[in-house]
Amino acid sequence: MATSYNRIVRDGLWDNNGVLAMLLGMCPTMAMTTSATNGLGMGLATAVVMAASNLMVAAFRNYITREVRIPVYILIVAANVTFVDLVMNAWMHELYKVLGLFIPLIVSNCLPLARLESFASKEPIIPSLMDGIFMGLGFTLSLTMIGAVREIIGSGTLFADASLLLGPAFKFLETQVLAEDMGVLMMILPPGGFLATGLLIVAKRMLDVRAGKGIQMAGAHSV
């Protein structure tokens, strides 16, 4: 069976997007999208963990028996989260101060686990790594978009504090969209997370229907 990298990229970023199509990882999606910058940070940290976990599970896939696969997957995800946490704390301390809040939350995300089960446990190392990277980037994209919608309506800014996350060179991203105090507070509170996510899912499906693809059903594509 030939592996279609094109398919993996399209699935991860759009067609089978973790948040907008599969509706997985809703806990960090709701909690961490109060601003575009937070969404971006959470998404990138998750992408790193997903790529590493997919790689490891694919490498060991012939040794993991069906009966114990779930505890092994959880072990691998949790270990990777801890690796990232420790290494960033030690050697990327400035970044850790910003992202540190998000990292332990990745363990509670079921998207990495879903990709391990439906993809990495059956596919070779390189496609699995690619799947982890692009599913992670798709997650990042969704979280950044949801965060952007909530931030613009909720606080009137876009990418506030981006320079803390990405470095001073990205100061230009920080925009004041609405006048100060014009924000609708509800959008940064939990209900705003559901509203923004729901509306973006509708928008994605409308785009898909208009493109003649029909509504993409959630579920794992086989490659």
């Binding site: 601003s35 993991i64 690796f83 420790l86 290494v87 301390h93």
Partner: protein, 199 residues
């Protein structure tokens, strides 16, 4: 062919052992660096709450261990100039929306706050984290204030009839922060003699 439970247990055990070992090695490799970073963080937050002009010693090294009102052991860093204590800094704790918040509070020899900084917290990013100096100057307003200024019953957020602003969408965080800082100043008032005494 059905494999026995022992085989599965063995496989799971090997993975646990392997990852446990890898985690232990990572911990060993990063432990010193993480401790060094924590020390640097402490030094730099100490530098922000004790102006360099008021001391000629190294406050990180001149410390006392005392007990706060809750029986918790806290470390007090002291700034000395010419053999006299000119200010002290210590950690104060508050309860926020998502658990404990830790602050470093600097107090001069008159009981006025020299400055407050957040050391750690778990507040909601975008709402409660405005207590960080990086994300807002809310925490700076405490500089120069003391228990009599404003009066003790005004050491609350505005919603509770005090004088400090709460944040839009987050009242619990600033409420906890104000209470923690007030508690810190009360600690100073109670232990003034011990804190300022030179031994």
């Amino acid at each position: 062919m059905k494999q026995g439970a022992l085989t599965h247990a063995f496989i799971l055990g090997v993975f646990c052992l392997g990852f446990g070992l890898a985690l232990a090695l990572t911990d060993l490799a990063t432990k010193d660096a993480i401790a060094a970073r924590a020390m640097e963080d402490r030094q730099s937050s100490l530098g922000q709450v004790i102006p360099t002009a008021i001391h000629d010693n190294n406050p990180v090294l001149d410390r006392l261990t005392m007990q706060d009102a809750n029986g918790r052991e806290i470390t007090v860093y002291r700034a000395l100039k010419g053999g006299k204590v000119t200010g002290v800094a210590y950690e104060v704790f508050g309860t926020g929306y998502a658990g404990q918040m830790k602050f470093m509070l600097g107090v001069d020899d008159q009981g006025r706050a020299l400055g407050v900084r957040v050391l750690s917290h778990k507040e909601t990013p975008g709402l409660g984290d405005k207590i960080e100096v990086k994300k807002g100057d809310w925490i700076l307003q405490f500089t120069g204030l003391s228990l009599g200024n404003p009066p003790v019953d005004k050491w609350k957020v505005k919603k509770d009839g005090g004088r400090f602003d709460q944040f839009t969408g987050a009242t619990i965080t600033p409420r906890g922060a104000v209470a923690a800082i007030r508690g810190g100043l009360e600690f100073f008032a109670k232990h003034q003699a011990q804190l300022l005494g030179v031994n």
